[in-house]
Amino acid sequence: MAKRWVWTINLLVLGALVGAMFVIERLTAQEQRFMLNCASELTDRNELLDKDVQHYLLVDLVTSGSTAQVNYRYYSVDGSSAGSISMQGKVDKIDQDSNTYFVSVSTKQETPSVDMPQHMQYLSYVSSLNINEKGEHNLSLELLDIDKAKDYAVVLFQPSNTVCGCRLVH
């Protein structure tokens, strides 16, 4: 009986060590970063002013392991900042067949300005609504067209149904 117990303990400890190595290997293997950088020209069709209002938008998405960060930075035509939204959350799921990342945003910080584009106003409103009511703002990014050789991808954001051409950043 005593010998059996000693063997049992040894095997359990050995199993735990192997398990620990497996977990460490998996965790470190998943720590690869995925970075996207998307630049857009924003145009607000303004009937009252009878002219369009132009801004620029830079979106950075960074995932590292299970954490995710999305930064929206808005600029006026003269290059001055027109506000920013920084969102933090986690990657809930990665669908490898469809190249889709499911991100759940739980916190955000905003830097408003007097010259906020309509895009920022709407994004701020929707994300606040979701975070305050549900505790999270969910979005998915599907890589519709990807060319890794040229570091390029067309991304479809849902549920907003937005397409955007982005650079893949190493």
């Binding site: 117990w5 145009t43 799921k93 709407y122 060319d147 067309v154 907003s160 397409v163």
Partner: protein
């Protein structure tokens, strides 16, 4: 009686390690030394006493005594070898922790050493019950059938079930950590296909593909209308670096997204246009042919 993890039967001249199940029939020198040490436990036994002969056996040599002590220590193991202490220049001393399992006083004294005892015995009720339990264990002739043996050395070992439980908990913890920390890998989502794809021929004969993305196949009139404007505008271009155009209307019909993709001097180029129109639905006009040409979409 018990010495560390070993049960000692002096009458039979046998010692059994209860953890390994290994039994050892004590040679004469070891038996003589151990008997004298047990009889005088807690006291120094002089070498002369240990090696003394009798009518039946001749006296032992100094080296025989030293070897016997060495062998006894080896058998009881490094964890308990300190029980037989060398008193320099005099002899040896057996620590007063040997338990005579047949002696009620010895068993009773177990309660005074508290945590030194194995819980199996310590948890028993009266002194008499503990004595009976101990005796019944010691009377198992080959000793090897005893499952859990007390350790009376003052070093409390973690119980085997506790170690098993801890190892199992570690397993559970590791795999829980793994599954909680990693994003779920799923294969249930299908790749989104464009709602519609068209080809536009430019004045130079160059072709350009137009892909429309919609979240639903219903109420896409505005998207199709905007697509027509875009196709007409590109049809007016002499030529263009753009090869593919991706168009999507946001789910609230507030933003028209246009992504142009192409190649220029061997480099991949991309341009994103996001046009917001907050006017009422019937007055919305994100883009027109004129507006697109002003935005220099041909370049």
């Amino acid at each position: 009686m018990q010495l560390g993890d070993c049960l000692v039967d002096l009458a039979k001249g046998e010692m059994t390690n209860v953890l390994t199940g290994k039994s050892w029939h004590l040679p004469r020198a070891e038996l003589q030394v151990l008997r004298l040490l047990v009889e005088n436990q807690g006291k120094v036994v002089l070498k002369q006493q240990l090696k003394a002969g009798n009518a039946e056996y001749a006296a032992l040599s100094d080296s025989s005594v030293a070897r016997a002590v060495f062998m006894l220590r080896s058998f009881i193991g490094p964890q308990y070898e300190y029980l037989i202490e060398t008193v320099k220049g005099k002899g040896y001393l057996l620590q007063d922790v040997v338990i005579d399992l047949a002696d009620s006083k010895s068993v009773e004294s177990l309660s005074s050493v508290g945590e030194k005892l194995d819980p199996a015995i310590a948890s028993l009720g009266s002194v008499e019950e503990r004595r009976q339990q101990a005796i019944s264990q010691s009377q198992k002739s080959d000793f090897t059938e005893i499952d859990v043996m007390p350790c009376a050395t003052g070093k409390k070992r973690p119980s085997i079930p506790l170690i098993t439980l801890a190892a199992s908990a570690l397993f559970l913890l590791l795999f829980t950590a793994l599954f909680l920390s990693l994003p779920e890998q799923s294969k249930e989502v299908t790749k989104t296909k464009p709602m519609r794809s068209d080809v536009v021929k430019l004045k130079s004969g160059q072709f350009m593909s137009i892909h429309l993305y919609a979240a639903s196949n219903t109420n896409n009139r505005l998207l199709l209308q905007q697509s027509q404007e875009i196709q007409q505008a590109f049809a007016l271009c002499e030529q263009s670096d753009w090869r593919h155009v991706y168009i999507a209307l946001s789910h609230d019909n507030q933003v028209l997204n246009m992504t142009l993709r192409g190649d220029s001097v061997g480099q991949s180029v991309v341009r994103n246009l996001k046009i917001t129109d907050s006017r009422s639905a019937k007055n919305k006009q994100f883009v027109s042919v004129r507006w697109l040409l002003d935005a220099e979409i041909c370049d």
